[in-house]
Symmetry: none
Subunit: 136 residues, 4 copies
């Protein structure tokens, strides 16, 4: 069991959600080097997504040095995965922040405006993952 959840309503592509969550699991030590991941088909079935989507995520994490694929034997968490995961996580966060800043730039707002709005927002509900998913 791996505790990956998909939010189909989100704008973040499904494959990216999977990548980010697997990476977080590795980074936090919930998945240690050597551990076997579910097969592409298995995980696809569990998450009810297209196998291509899982394959895409695995390939990506392999490129990041977090997973390693042993031909015909399966996919495993790589040695040193945790460090790679931390690095990648930082990169990812930075990118996201870069996007807010670009946005603020377009809106012609300064850094103070951003931080202020950010703090206002975070004070609001204390923790991340706002409830989501109202599809019928």
């Amino acid at each position: 069991m791996m505790r990956v959840t998909i939010d189909t309503a989100s704008d973040t592509p499904v494959y990216a959600q999977i990548i980010d969550q697997l990476r977080a699991l590795v980074r936090e030590g919930n998945l240690s080097p050597g551990t076997a991941l579910p097969s592409v088909r298995q995980l696809a079935a569990d998450l009810e997504v297209n196998p291509n989507t899982i394959a895409r995520a695995y390939t990506w994490l392999e490129q990041e040095g977090i997973l390693r694929t042993a031909a015909r034997r399966g996919t495993f968490v790589a040695e040193g995965a945790s460090a790679s995961a931390s690095r990648a996580t930082d990169r990812r966060l930075d990118e996201a922040i870069e996007r807010v800043i670009e946005q603020a730039g377009l809106l012609n707002l300064g850094p103070r405006d951003i931080l202020a709005a950010m703090e206002r927002r975070l004070a609001g509900d204390g923790f991340d993952h706002p409830p989501r998913g109202e599809e019928t």
Copy 2:
């Protein structure tokens, strides 16, 4: 003169870049109510984009109550545009922030991590993105 620039490399759509910049100009009072905007075709020529793209931006801003278009006479900044622009700007920033927060959630980071990364980034270069249009 209006100082709108397009960054074709950005993955913010062209029409959105135009909307955001015009909205900022109005919000800051650089474009006051009653002022005529360049014609659809004129601005299209200046920015080297298709007239449809400009028309899309103008229509959007009209729906936001920021522009008003007098059929066949041209497009003008609406009365009360500044207030409408501020409201819309806030909405836009909030959306962008929502996106970072969602991102952080996927990475399994808490609000403190976000703010820290944000402050680090903003401290980094003092003030990034100086107010547009003032090449010192």
Copy 3:
């Protein structure tokens, strides 16, 4: 002097505004049969519109039997103009009403809804011609 005013902000085309107002003047007896109208150029200068626009209005009213043009002598109010004007006015109003009703149809509203909204509106300010024209 003829008391015709143009509202360039209105959606109603300028030529139609002129037609409607001249027709009203005739209908109410402020312009009686035989009276000469200003020349196309004269009226165009007074109203600060393109002569084509005036010519278009005169031609239209001629078709309605309200004006008559005597080659090289000018344009005059026709005999029986008043009756023609009344008929045309009725037609015009009906068209306008037809448009609200079509609109309400699209919005899927019934006649009661229309009358109610109409009465609400008319109760509001008692008389027609709301102030208009905020162009800078």
Copy 4:
């Protein structure tokens, strides 16, 4: 099933006809929150118009808060759509009424004239424009 019909003869633009009819369906609860709308291409094919025209309508309704579009998953009726739809409908009707009143002003008629003509018209055929979709 959605019962949207286009009247190419009408001078209400096609995209506006679609907007108005979808809005009416939502307002009356025939389309409830969460319901998926036909895809842009599907509806375009059904109505025999260009996909761009449908996209324009969907985008507009999204900005009105009536639809919500989940990128690449489809377009849905938004939460609280009904209230948004009512508000927008009111705005639309008011605009239409404003147009009759302006018209009457040009014809130099008073509010009583308008209401009288209106009532005459509405009495004329009992109820014109029966609620769409019920061919008895």
